[in-house]
């Protein structure tokens, strides 16, 4: 192989490394079952993928066959996915060490999920989308139901299987209709047809594809699975679904909607805007009634992807920037929230009732501060990443003069103050008795401290993501 050939491979390196990692872990497990080893290989693989990103960026854009397209946008998200998966892996170690006897295969599934997510952001072809979505989903079934002795986890896994199966069916049917109409499945094929106007069949196909993705994003009214799955799954897996899985789907949705020009069709634009508003309203209103923290976070994620959809709709440089920043910020705040839940979860099951969090700030200051800050960030209070993220989304909505969406964000955010602040109130209230069996390791505290620092850093100096966002925007527009 010549040097030139190797250089050609550089853009594909991050994705390839992510794909190889779970295989290496599998082999390692068959040789020697060891928790730290499996984690170590996974982290090394993720680190290698992250390290490969700069070189890939320099060589991007590139394609590999019809199904894989690597550009600055996909690499930015691959970076986020690899980092996010690493955080989940670190978060999972003490959790699994407490509650699982055979934790090693967990990391195989984690690696496969990351690969699926990275493949999803690196494709401009509906067949690629379907393949990547399936890879991601199959890994997630296993992860959700990983604690086999817990009835809740099995139930959640089954629920996710059925719902995601339905979603895939819708997605595939939509793709089939599109193929019947235009005879191609790449985004360029669809864009070529979009300029001339879709036929009814094509329009229905696109609408079904959007509905399939809305399932994956848990956008209302396709959100029914989210609270049950978030509640039943192990806390780190819930975090993985909320971030890596949904973040990748959001990035794909952005790419698809902007590359195909689907939103120039008023009917489709109305559907997407409707999904956004309904998600914001439903997510925030339903969260008001929740006393279970994981369900509350599920509804909160429904609302947040509703906000994010406003950025997704704003095709253009500002849209890319808003999307990237929002997803990055959402990653950090979600990991903080679920990190606290994970650290408080013992063998008996996950910390879920609000009582578990009572007086957290006084008995476990690091966890308490992490939960308070992540709640405030999810609400969008300044000096946290969540505020700048909301600012970006509002700016994206305003730049497209979608004032209805902007006002919807403003009003539903005001509603969300109720339940986010309830989390703050609970963590600040008089300390309850310390539940036993939770995680007091330095590991969890260190991870949360780093995430808190990141949350504040993004809130104070949002410019640190700027170079990446600019590259991604330049690549697309």
């Amino acid at each position: 192989m010549t040097r030139a050939d190797l250089a050609d491979l550089a853009p594909l390196a991050p994705l390839a490394i992510l794909a190889v990692t779970p295989l290496v872990v599998t082999v390692a497990i068959s040789v020697r079952r060891h928790h730290a080893l499996a984690l170590g290989i996974t982290l090394a693989g993720l680190a290698a993928a992250v390290a490969a990103v700069p070189a890939a960026l320099a060589a991007a854009p590139a394609t590999a066959g019809a199904l894989v397209t690597v550009d600055a946008l996909s690499l930015s998200f691959t970076l986020l996915i690899a980092l996010g998966t690493a955080v989940v892996a670190l978060m999972s170690r003490p959790y699994l060490a407490r509650s699982e006897r055979r934790p090693e295969e967990y990391y195989v599934l984690l690696g496969i999920a990351a690969t699926g997510a990275a493949a999803l952001v690196s494709t401009e072809h509906l067949a690629g989308v379907i393949l990547a979505v399936e890879t991601l989903s199959v890994a997630l079934f296993g992860l959700i139901a990983y604690p086999r002795d817990r009835a809740g986890a099995i139930e959640a896994g089954l629920k996710y299987l059925i719902m995601t199966g339905a979603a895939s069916a819708v997605l595939v049917f939509g793709a089939a209709l599109l193929y019947a109409d235009i005879g191609g499945l790449t985004f360029d094929d669809i864009a070529a047809r979009a300029s001339g106007g879709f036929s009814v069949v094509g329009l229905a196909g696109l609408a079904l594809v959007i509905a399939g993705l809305a399932f994956k994003l848990a956008l209302a009214p396709f959100h029914m699975w989210a609270p049950d799955v978030y509640q039943g799954a192990p806390a780190p897996v819930s975090a993985l679904i909320a971030t890596v899985s949904e973040g990748a789907v959001a990035a794909l949705a952005f790419r698809m909607l902007s590359a195909t020009g689907a939103l120039t069709e008023p009917a489709l634009a109305a559907i997407v805007a409707g999904l956004a508003v309904v998600s914001m309203a439903a997510g925030n209103l339903l969260a008001l009634l929740q006393t279970r923290v994981k369900r509350l976070l599920a509804y909160s994620s429904v609302a947040h992807f509703g906000y994010l959809l406003v950025a997704v709709m704003a095709a253009g440089p500002l849209g890319v920037e808003a999307l990237l920043f929002y997803v990055a910020a959402y990653f950090v705040m979600t990991y903080l929230a679920f990190g606290v839940v994970t650290a408080l979860s013992g063998r008996a099951g996950d910390a879920d009732a609000l009582d578990h969090f009572k007086g957290l700030c006084w008995r476990r200051p690091v966890l308490g501060i992490a939960l308070v800050l992540s709640s405030l960030s999810l609400l969008g209070v300044p000096v946290t990443a969540g505020f700048i993220a909301k600012l970006y989304v509002l700016a994206a909505g305003a730049s497209e003069a979608r004032w209805g969406l902007v006002v919807a964000i403003a009003l539903t955010t005001a509603i969300s103050a109720f339940y986010y602040l309830r989390l703050v109130v609970v963590s600040l209230s008089r300390p309850a008795e310390d539940p036993r069996g939770d995680d007091r390791s330095l590991e969890a505290a260190a991870l949360l401290t780093v995430l808190v620092a990141l949350l504040i850093a993004l809130g104070v100096a949002p410019g640190i993501l700027e170079p990446l966002a600019t590259r991604a925007a330049d690549a697309l527009f």
């Binding site: 405030l376 300044p382 000096v383 700016a395 902007v406 964000i409 009003l411 602040l421 109130v425 410019g463």
Partner: protein, 561 residues
Amino acid sequence: MTDTSFVLPLLLALPVLGAILVMLVPREEHGLHRGIGLVTALATFGVALFALALFDGEEAGFQLVFDLEWIAALGVHFKVGVDGISIWLVMLTAFLLPIVLLAAHRSVSHRVRDFVAIMLVLQTAMIGAFVALDLFLFYVFWEVMLVPMYLLIGVWGGKRRVYASIKFVIYTVVGSMLMLAAIFYVYVQHGLTTGEYTTDLVQLRELVLPYGAQVWCFAVFALAFAIKVPLFPLHTWLPDAHVEAPTAGSVILAGVLLKLGIYGLLRFAMPLFPLGAAEAAPFIAILAVAGIIYGALVAFVQEDIKKLVAYSSVSHLGFCSLGLFTLTVQGVSGSIFAMLSHGLTTSGLFLAIGVLYERRHTRRLSEFGGLWKQMPIFAALFLIVTLGSAGVPGLSGFVGEFLTVFGTFIAGETFPAGWDSYLPAPKLLAAFAATGVILGAVYLLYMFQKTMFGPLDNERNKSLPDVSRREITVFAPLIAMIFVMGIAPRPFLQTAEPSVDRFLTMYESKLTQPEAVTPYAVEFDEQGNAHRREQPAAPGDAAAERDGAGDAEARAERTQR
């Protein structure tokens, strides 16, 4: 950028650095926490005094400006600066914090470290909101303020603190989120018309929005600010928040936070959306007068002293809103002066209530009575503060209320052509507002009489100790300033005047044709008699009256030139 541009960032950074330092000290070292807090607050006040010394009172524009790019993608800058209006509000904030920290010495005994840190962070946020010259930066400080204030009520508050703190936050968040949407509208409109996307207030002020947009945007901004003020029907969060908040929280809330509502209207809502403001002026003026009377009447029937003072704030802030919307030099200056004075006197009242509460753990009026005999020094301090709040000439409260009522009285005649119906029946409004002054004296003196005079018949009151030396130290600077502002209001008004003039000139030039510039000076002379006629009606310190009148005349001359 000048070489003095470091002053305001320093002013903002000091309290945060102090807060970080406090958090690094071990939890048990309460004395050290208080010490660091007090030293930081005093140092901040020192920097504020330095800023005041650098400030040029003749200049109308923004001074000590510091400008740094913050979010490049959105054109957001970290831009701060002060003018003759905000400099005094910054001074007020910096002045009150050491007092509050000293006063909280006994009342806050648990989680002292967090308390001190939160107060310092709040300090930065409040000063930041007063000096921000970028809409987003202002919004950031405005929202950041919410969290410490929420914690202050929610952690150190009374029995119903959770209810009160959530109510406080919900009210504020509803207003501010809508305001954020409106900020975006302005931002995008400016970007579309000029090609430059910016949130710089000075640039955005130049933008003339279409009539409908101005009305909507003003409505949204005014809602956010009116909740904070609070304007009459939106005031219901205030008594709850005050009653549940610890003394320190009440002082900061009444002393500074409420002023941000008025300041926001003056600095942002009115200059950005003058047509909307003009349309809304009659409603706001009527609501302000309604608030003055309603607040006074409700205060009169309160059994809880703190609630009484909370409602008195509704009444007093009514004067500030009213003065602002008269759009006369007198009204606007009066509004600013009344804000400063209210910051001093109401803080004094809440501190006095704190003194009583620390001793008796009750705030019911009927529990007190005859305390004058038991606590003579306290009674004297309390009396000065009460009279200052009631607007007795010679003390600070008088000047502000007088100027706002006077400004209202002449409002109809002074406002530019084409907008002669700007305020409906200004003389009637002025008459009602003046009734509020009288009612204010009634309920405040009633409060004083109930607590201090009469027989000392409650056994538990017979052993109350008088104020300690520390408590006298807390009251001394407040009382000194109440006297200074009452006897010599001129320096305060003079520094603010160029900025007020500029505010009014800019406002009018956006409303009317260029030829109709500043007719209020001429009109003012015709009303000079009315001014003099009112003087004998107000009894008391003649020196203060001469001062006030002389000041008004000087202003008239200046505007004529």
